[in-house]
Amino acid sequence: MLRVELRKRRGEFSLDAAFSAPTPGVTALFGRSGCGKSTLISLIAGLLAPDAGRVVLDDDVLFDSERHLSVDARHRRIGVVFQDARLFPHLSVRGNLDYGARRVARETPRPVAFDDVVSLLGLGQVLARRPHQLSGGEKQRVALGRALLSQPRLLLLDEPLASLDLARREEVLPYLEKLRDAFAIPIVYVSHQFDEVLRLATRVVLLDAGRTLADGDIATVSRHPQLRAIVGPDSVGAVLAGHVESVDKTGLAVLRVGDAELIVEIDGAVVGQRIQIQVLARDVIVATGRPSGLSVRNVVAARVISVTADAGRAVLVELDIGRTATLLARITSRASEELGLSVDKQVWALIKAASLRGHVFSVPAR
């Protein structure tokens, strides 16, 4: 477990954040640009001195202002990947990868092997190249490998995809997923893109103006009002996590979520895999009777938890689909009135299978 409780004042900006992250596991630090995510990363890594607080990693105290204790950044064994890669320009890719590896203390165990990292990140062809000969995506992959080979107890990824264009992001994301599943190294992933968070993290810490607003599993935090405000009305949606129950001939997977079964499109799904999906609120239709003769694959029995006003003439309906699983639906306020939606009313939620894309987590996350 990583436990963080830090305060830092920098001019006008003040940070006062507290969260915990499971180890292993991927925890996302999510918030708008300028909310203090990168500052928090620097503080945890030990590159910046906090004013007060504590950082404890697996019972190892790295910083404690009350005890005047602060482990130097180079002894924390925390690997950091920065937004701008920060590869050493005078060293080859191999030299960069070796830099941290050479400085690992003799008594430190070395579970991460050079060859494994090179093949996992697909760096075999570029080992002899210099950083300026690499594409943006390749640079970030080298930076990831370099951090991994320093045998870290924790990886801090500070918006590693933010400086890349969309195509490059899609190129690097699968490597991040592989890395997450291949090594049992806990990861704190900083991002202001919720789709990245959805693909990589199981826990989310919501940060706004230097304060932690929420800290919990992604399904819970995805419904937080502040998170909805950050992602914007079109990207609002509940995140659901479930396991693949069966896969049909056409490649559609049946996912068990709460009491419901959802049919989802997943590439190469395997029974038992943990899947995370986001059901966008705008993609959910609410019906008061069970409909028939529709193309919609997913018809889920639900109970209205709340109906709240949303942007424009819409309302956001929160639906309980059993075992604490929740859906969000955005409908017009007029539709809500005509259907007579009120708390505890039993309804049906309709979701097109084609609108759902599942993200595979091959290692069951805690």
Binding site: A73, R76, F88
Partner: protein, 228 residues
């Protein structure tokens, strides 16, 4: 092609200039580092002091060196008594005077490249387990190598021609401190020395040009290595 006296002056110039650079570099790197990376009381005064040789007449520098490093001076006397080292009126003294004169040039060149070093790279090295000295040697030094090289070559080229400080502190002794410019000056003072002066001037010119070309070539090669 060259007369023995010319060869002597040429070699002496090259040797004095090379030794002046060797004196210079370690101190210049240290001073440049202090001026870019640290904040201390009297930093501005220190900065001005380092740049004094640029604005003072070289004769004044030579005179100050004589006062400090002369056989009866506080430092020169101590060196002479304890180690039998004499600097004034020797070629080592000429190298010292040359080094002091070109010191601000070297500091300036190194300082500019130090200011351009991305501190983020040093931070990255720190998270990868590198200590302060390790980071300096493995990251900072290679990154400022073009600046060090540029400073060294400039100092070398300028050192070939140092006149005022050398003649004041080390005098004009044939075979010991009579470098190219001093030999040229001496030739001009001698009747029928015009031809010799012209030849010495031509040698100086070629040397200076060669130095600048080599510097440009080396810094290009280094920058290519760094990928800029």
């Amino acid at each position: 092609m060259l007369s023995p006296a010319e060869t002597e002056a040429l070699w002496l110039s090259l040797s004095v200039a090379a030794r002046s650079v060797a004196f210079n570099l370690p101190f210049a790197i240290l001073v440049a580092w202090l001026l870019t990376r640290t904040r201390f009381a009297g930093r501005t005064l220190f900065d001005a002091f380092v740049h004094l040789p640029l604005v003072l007449p070289p004769v004044v520098i030579g005179y100050l060196l004589l006062v400090l490093f002369g056989v009866r001076g506080p430092i020169g006397g101590w060196l002479h008594q304890n180690f039998g080292i004499q600097l004034a009126f020797t070629s080592t003294g000429a190298a010292l005077a040359t080094a002091v004169m070109s010191f601000p040039l070297v500091v300036r060149a190194i300082r500019i490249s130090l200011e351009n070093v991305d501190r983020g790279l040093e931070e990255a090295a720190r998270t990868l387990g590198a200590g302060p000295m390790d980071r300096f040697v493995s990251i900072t030094l290679p990154l400022i190598a073009p600046g060090i090289l540029a400073g060294a070559v400039t100092a070398f080229a300028a050192g070939l021609g140092e006149f005022g400080a050398v003649i004041t502190f080390a005098a004009n002794i044939p075979g010991e401190t009579r470098t190219l410019p001093l030999a040229l000056y001496t030739a001009l003072q001698t009747p029928d020395g015009d031809a010799l002066a012209a030849r010495l001037a031509a040698i100086s010119l070629s040397l200076g040009l060669a130095g600048l070309l080599v510097s440009e070539f080396l810094s290009r090669a280094l920058r290519l290595r760094l990928g800029r």
